[in-house]
């Protein structure tokens, strides 16, 4: 009988102890992960999908790492021997033998022999039984239940976008978008859009220079796409905007969707043959009935702000039949429209345009700015004691070319307390459009 039996026992118990450690730690780690997942899922974290999967993956990694750590953490022979001594009531016999090493002596020899005889009859499973921590397992089951319930509660409605794996955004695709944007910018003579198109091309070329087939800087790409969207329409496409809001700037799926929509719209602009290239002077446009009219209004402009004898929220002149006209004339693409506002009074009112005056609102760029065909898809107005506010909803990339006089269709009458999009947030070209439909009140005109 030699110490080989003791060494063998120590080795077997060590392996068993590591497994037991991992088994003990694992439920706790997964319990933490499941609890965190459920908490995140139930909380109102913005862009939940990306955040959840990110945090879930991190927690899973931590769980696995913790288990692996438990499996491979150093366990010295003395430590294992003491474990055996304690668990099996061996009165520190094995710890002493392991510590003594090759020491000699009558009593030590007897001790070694005694320990070896005992080691031969000891099973590692007796020394280290595999036990799952009951509180951890119960907690894990509960947390998993909550996580599953949370997943069901927070799941998107049936029929929504399938969670297919998003395709990577290739360099070619970005270059294609850049080319289309450049063409549209040229058509619109929009130097901002041209700059964005150049930035897109540069981003794609950077990726290509690294011999990459995909654009990996999704944050930057997202910014450029977002800018492009904003240039196309201050409120952007409702669908893509909401998708982007859900997925975040760098979600490839949402980005790809936004790029496809943008490309389509930019292509329409790039290939459009404009029938009008008119510079509109905000001071010379007015609304007559459902049409935009141009002429000298300053000084002797008709009072369009309020019909004679009208009061309260009564529709302004020319807008009484807005609903009827809208339903008759044009199905409107509300998703691609945007709303600009016009204040009824330059000195009073709570509109962000109010008090700033036309010059401040439209800026110097108004002068000489060109306007492309547009279509108004909605007009709203509001009367109060201080004047009247008219909000016009436009679809600048509407396919139908309008006449020089700027015909537009009227849609729902939607009372609004303020312009839906502050002029300060609009690109200057849109401001010029806004300026084109700015309807000064009679008081303003008189002043």
């Amino acid at each position: 009988m030699t110490t080989g039996h003791v060494d063998s026992l120590i080795a077997r118990v060590r392996g068993r102890a590591r497994t037991a450690r991992a088994a003990a730690v694992t439920p706790w780690a997964f319990l933490g992960g499941a609890a965190a997942f459920a908490a995140l899922r139930l909380s109102s974290v913005p862009s939940p999908t990306a955040a959840l999967y990110g945090v879930g993956a991190a927690l899973l990694l931590v769980a696995v790492a913790t288990s692996v750590w438990g499996l491979f953490r150093p366990l010295t022979a003395v430590r294992v021997a003491r474990l055996v001594d304690q668990r099996l009531g061996q009165m520190d016999r094995f710890a002493t033998v392991v510590e003594l090493g090759a020491a000699e002596g009558r009593v030590i020899a007897a001790l070694r022999q005694d320990a070896a005889a005992r080691a031969a009859s000891i099973s590692p499973t007796d020394a280290v039984p595999l036990r799952w921590s009951r509180p951890a397992v119960v907690g894990l089951v509960a947390a998993l239940g909550v996580a599953l319930a949370a997943q069901q509660l927070a799941a998107p409605p049936a029929g929504s976008t399938a969670a297919a794996a998003p395709e990577p955004i290739t360099v070619d695709r970005v270059l294609e978008l850049a080319e289309v944007a450049e063409a549209a910018a040229e058509k619109r003579e929009d130097e901002h859009m041209a700059a964005v198109a150049a930035a897109l091309a540069e981003l794609a070329e950077e990726a290509a220079s690294r011999n990459e087939n995909e654009v990996t800087d999704l944050a930057r790409l997202g910014e450029l796409v977002s800018t492009l969207e904003r240039l196309m329409s201050p409120l952007g496409s409702t669908a893509t905007r909401s998708a982007r809001a859900d997925a975040g700037q760098s979600d490839p799926g949402a980005l790809s969707e936004a790029m496809a929509a943008l490309e389509q719209r930019l292509e329409r602009i790039a290939t459009q043959v404009f029938g009008m290239d008119t510079e509109l002077d905000p001071e010379t446009f007015w609304l007559e009935g459902d049409r935009i009219r141009q002429g000298e209004i300053m000084g002797d402009a008709p009072d369009l702000s309020r019909p004679a004898g009208a009061s309260g929220s009564e529709a302004p002149a020319g807008m009484e039949n807005a609903q009827a006209v809208a339903s008759e004339e044009a199905p409107q693409d509300l998703s691609s429209g945007f709303i600009v506002g016009a204040s009824s009074d330059s000195s009073v009112g709570d509109s962000s345009m109010a008090g700033q005056g036309a010059q401040d609102l439209f800026g110097d760029e108004t002068v000489g700015a060109s306007i492309w065909p547009f279509e108004a898809i909605g007009v709203s107005g509001e009367d109060d004691d201080e004047g009247r506010r008219v909000n016009v909803e436009l679809a600048p990339e509407a396919s139908e070319t309008q006449g020089a006089e700027g015909t537009f269709a009227l849609a729902d009458w939607l009372p609004s307390s303020r312009p839906l999009s502050p002029a300060g947030e609009l690109p200057f070209r849109y401001r010029s459009v806004a300026g084109g439909y700015f309807l000064p009140s009679q008081e303003t005109a008189n002043r």
Partner: protein, 341 residues
């Protein structure tokens, strides 16, 4: 296998067999003692541990609990030369150690050393606290040095030399309490408790019959000396030593971070001699139990007899009736937990 190696293996096997034989003898001795002294198993174990460690014991208990019988039986079973000294206030040191006597040899008067009763292998110093400090000191010197010096000549004691002193904890009138420094020289302080009902019936059967059961000799004095040497070969794991060291430090009221009770009630903590006694007693207990290594359980078992007379309470502790045994147990368990895996 070469003949040299074969011889080596044979020698090792012989050693192991001799060792096992010694341990079996020890077990038999223990059984032989408990056959005569019934109901005192723990006391018997403690005294055997003390004697295996080569230490002296102070036995404390009320009169009539069989202390003298116990010591006498141990001497008989272990084959030790026994003597008894009844300590009284008028007992002189020379009455214990011996003296120079004037004798005539060939018609000429010469002085010869007449050994006192201390010259035995097992000395029962009965009611040691009844003699004067001077006589106590004479005994304690012999206990410590294993020599007696008379008229400038040192006389070596017999081996083994073991003193089992008794004292009555109740009758304190006319006694001379042993000073702390001298109490510290006793390896163990063993308390003898009153027997239980069953034990008492056994005692009545054994002692009031026609014949008292005689003690049978199991060991010789030489065996005990050999076993005493063997005790010191018993290994002790490092964590057990660490537990002892930490525990002993924790009994010191001056130690930073010591227990609040220790700071409040303890006058003197356990000395290094106390730590040595504890470790040695643990080794002896392991051997007595047929094991070859000292464990934490052995230390735990030896804790009270080895240290209860070494931890001195202050006036406040004594006045408040603090139990030294309870304090020792609490402090040791606290330190034993710190060395757990």
């Amino acid at each position: 296998m070469s003949s040299e190696r074969r011889d080596h293996v044979t020698e090792a096997n012989d050693d192991l067999q001799a060792l096992e034989s010694d341990l079996r003898s020890l077990q038999r001795a223990r059984e032989a003692i408990t056959e005569v002294v019934v109901g005192q198993d723990e006391t018997v174990e403690q005294l055997l541990v003390c004697m295996l460690s080569g230490g002296h014991a102070l036995i404390e208990g009320a009169p009539g609990l069989g202390k003298t019988l116990l010591v006498r039986t141990i001497a008989d079973v272990l084959g030790l030369e026994y003597s008894r000294v009844q300590f009284t206030p008028d007992l002189m040191p020379a009455d214990v150690t011996g003296t120079l006597a004037l004798v005539y040899e060939d018609g000429k008067p010469v002085t010869r050393f007449q050994p006192g009763p201390i010259f035995a292998q097992l000395v029962l110093a009965d009611e040691i606290n009844r003699s004067t400090p001077k006589t106590q000191a004479a005994l304690l010197e012999a206990m410590q040095e294993h020599t007696v010096t008379v008229a400038g000549t040192a006389h070596r004691m017999m081996e083994p030399f073991l003193v089992l002193a008794t004292q009555n904890p109740f009758e304190m009138d006319g006694t001379y309490a042993l000073p702390e420094a001298q109490i510290d020289r006793f390896f163990f302080k063993v308390t003898v408790e009153h027997p239980s009902e069953e034990t008492l019936v056994q005692i009545l059967d054994l002692t009031t019959g026609a014949e008292a059961r005689p003690a049978r000799r199991v060991l010789e004095a030489a065996d005990l000396v050999r076993l005493q040497r063997l005790v010191r070969e018993v290994p002790m794991a490092s964590h057990v030593k660490l537990a002892i060291a930490r525990f002993v430090r924790s009994t010191l009221p001056t130690e930073t971070g010591s227990n609040q009770d220790v700071r409040r009630y303890v006058r003197f903590g356990v000395s290094p001699r106390g730590a040595q006694a504890l470790a040695l007693a643990a080794k002896a207990r392991a051997l007595l139990a047929g094991r070859y290594n000292a464990s934490l359980d052995d230390v735990r078992a030896a804790l009270l007899p080895a240290l209860r007379h070494r931890l001195q309470l202050n006036y406040q502790g004594t006045a408040e009736g603090i139990s030294v045994d309870a304090m020792l147990r609490e402090l040791f368990e606290a330190q034993a937990r710190t060395v757990a895996t």
